[in-house]
């Protein structure tokens, strides 16, 4: 028995101002052919009634919703919330609303997120796919029939344009740096091998190790502090079997660093460490942690620009380009050298 609040309608404004609905409509959407006098009356009526146009009704008329979506694993993750912030700004500049959906890297939530966006008839959206290879996602996106841009992770078959960081090179570079320091036993600690980005980083690590003829020490089931400390302690038990650690994710880096501290292993004298992805305080802890820095802002910015270019540009883009046509935009990462890799401050 709810009386779902009755906000004033355009009709009521018209009545109150003593004009037709068209006139009010014109006043709302940029003044055009309206006499100053009438304009004033209408504006007063609008103010008095506290009128706000009903977005749903406008959408129903078949126009752009001026709404874009963002689908990411988590809204609390610093990487993605930074992206969201940047994209929100871009959307606002285009007078669009941004709707952020979280998937937690789960297939079903991802599907729901995309469907929800489509029900809201967003003009387009940006997505960080949970599974880059998923054919299911791929076909879901193809049906969407609105411009889409993949962020941080590409989509199989390259059906949509994507903007990603160079995970392979970033990891390769970091590993090489460790090797250049003379470390031989370099372990790579990670989890979530289902993620595209992680797999690329692993490939980079492997490539560098192979090129230097070093044995690959890969641990792929590190997902919390316990498993991290465990893995490190185990390697430490056999003397000379661990020189350096390369962690592929923020939290793993912190865990590994913590574990090394806990196990009273001098860093980097006994074991060096480089992490993937920078984070607050990475430069404040002692030793300061060397990391691979990702171009987060540019990633988001580029994706946003790409999306709005499609939105405003050639209407042709109603459906994704021919399969496999889209080559990803790859942004460079950089090695942020601090101390934990063995370098001294101000003297790499």
């Amino acid at each position: 028995m709810r009386k779902p609040r009755k906000l004033p309608t355009l009709h009521e404004v018209a009545k109150r101002a003593g004009v037709g609905t068209t006139t009010v409509s014109r006043v709302i959407n940029g003044v055009e052919h309206v006499e100053p006098q009438t304009l004033a009356r209408v504006e007063r009526a609008i103010k008095e009634l506290g009128y706000l146009p009903n977005h749903a009704a406008r959408v129903l008329k078949g126009h752009r919703t001026r709404t874009v979506g963002l689908v990411v694993p988590s809204i609390a993750d610093p990487f993605f919330s930074s992206c969201a912030e940047v994209l929100q700004g871009i959307a606002r500049r285009h007078e669009c609303l941004l709707i952020v959906m979280a998937t937690h890297n789960e297939k079903s939530m991802e599907r729901d997120a995309v469907n929800t966006l489509m029900q809201h008839r967003v003009d387009g959206f940006i997505i960080a796919p949970s599974d880059s290879e998923s054919g299911e996602l791929c076909s879901l996106l193809m049906r969407a029939s609105v411009p889409i841009v993949a962020l941080d992770r590409p989509v199989a078959g390259a059906v949509v344009p994507s903007v990603v960081a160079d995970n392979f090179v970033g990891a390769q570079h970091a590993t090489r740096h460790l090797i250049a320091h003379g470390y031989k036993k370099i372990a790579c600690l990670t989890g979530e091998m289902n993620l595209f980005t992680i797999r690329e980083r692993v490939r980079g690590y492997q490539a560098a190790m192979a090129a230097a003829n070093l044995k690959v020490l890969l641990h792929t089931s590190i997902h919390d502090y316990a498993s991290c400390e465990n893995a490190i302690a185990k390697m430490l038990r056999q003397p000379g079997s661990l020189d350096a650690v390369f962690t592929l994710k923020n939290s793993t880096t912190v865990d590994a660093f913590q574990a090394l501290l806990q196990l009273r292993v001098p860093v980097p004298q006994k074991v060096a460490i480089i992490g993937y992805d920078d984070f607050q305080l990475a430069g404040t802890v002692r030793p300061a942690i060397t990391v691979v820095q990702q171009p987060i802002q540019e990633l988001a910015q580029t994706a946003g620009q790409l999306l709005f270019r499609h939105l405003n540009g050639a209407a042709v883009s109603a459906k994704p380009a021919p399969t496999g046509t889209q080559k990803p935009v790859v942004l460079k990462t950089s090695l942020l050298i601090r101390e934990s890799c063995g370098c001294r401050p101000n003297q790499p």
Copy 2:
């Protein structure tokens, strides 16, 4: 000349399934009085066409939008993005969409955010007001005519229910702890005195200092590393004029800690430090930093519960309760004792 994509409509589904629109509608909104056979036909048509109901059209029929809003200063701030994550989960459990808007603590953006939400006819929303005293915001919220809950900061006149942390007691407690350690020259470093939370924390600091008959050392224009180091260095220049530092915000804590390190001041031997709000690695740096911990999750959870209680409960809540009726829900903060305050680990 854009042909704004033509997604299938309920009509087309009906035609294809050889039934009336009513039947299709019924199938979509929970099956009810529909023959299994018809049901199957309709479902097949829906699948084949990839039909997704047009949200705008449903809303226009005058029902709940199943959409709620969240208005916060920033979506990248860890505090608020955590809140957003929690609230998104709650919304989803109520089959609602959450729209997050950022204000950057600016009046105009806040107004725009609220208006945008109203245009989208959200069923209700949660807001962390930029200015708790603003009469303007207050009247804006009163006109909104949907359930609203204030988060982290109350709204002047108590026109909406609010859920906040006990900033006063939290700061008082921390200051007292410093005093108990025997520190006399305790400086409070902050900026953004326009924020309700900050002012409350300052009050707590002042109260504790006054009660101990100590001189208040308040710096209210700390907003970046430079100003922070500057203030500390200045105090340090007069020997014996600084024992401890109490920072009221995450980034200031990091800046102060960094500055102390940079100035080669032993922490906590020469100068102790306690920060407001916990953060990643606060426990990993050496010395580990003691902080006032806020009940972030509960804050968001409580606000969410409150909102949905109003949404689902008595429809009476069409307009905010009588002015001044709402007493805020105040959640406790806790002092997370680590080392920077002078305590030793495992021996406070």
